[in-house]
Symmetry: C2
Amino acid sequence: MLAATPEPPYYACIFTSQQQEAPHHVQAYKEMAALMITLASQQEGFLGYESTRNLEGFGITVSYWNSLTAMQSWKAHTEHQIAQRLGREQWYQYYKTRICKVESDYEDPPLRASK
Amino acid sequence: MLAATPEPPYYACIFTSQQQEAPHHVQAYKEMAALMITLASQQEGFLGYESTRNLEGFGITVSYWNSLTAMQSWKAHTEHQIAQRLGREQWYQYYKTRICKVESDYEDPPLRASK
């Protein structure tokens, strides 16, 4: 479930969100989330993602990209725009997105043979 | 539960971890996690954190800092060093830490009056 990202530098999008207490269209949300992962994975420059959400509906999803341009293309993707609008209107109580440059990383146990 | 971070740029430490399936010393882990938050909050340059973990034990914690120096000081903090060693030895099946510079952010609804 760890994203097998390359040696830094690369880019990360940290998306933190609180689901609505009684989210409308739970099944639609799950299907849209799965679709977004499938579509993001097909994007040029996508490196992987990590995602988790607790029982209270507080979630963090981090997607990794090889450039800011790749990340911006994904933000502008048509189906992703529809998902973003539904997120704002129906699914999330609040959310925040942070665009970051990953400058270094370390792990245990080591995942990259080069380390 | 969103960290009220200032206008970028600032720094983020993304810590992704998988807990052991049968974590030893569950109570000790909880107390240590609470202690780490208390101590980190007292550090110069600490801006806040966001943390969540699902039922399978996969978690993401992001802490925010006003400089790389502040983040490095916290990494070297004595009690934090002990927690890191226990994490490697007893609590986590695997983990990865990524050090990032946050270059931009946006949110809904807006949290900062300045936006």
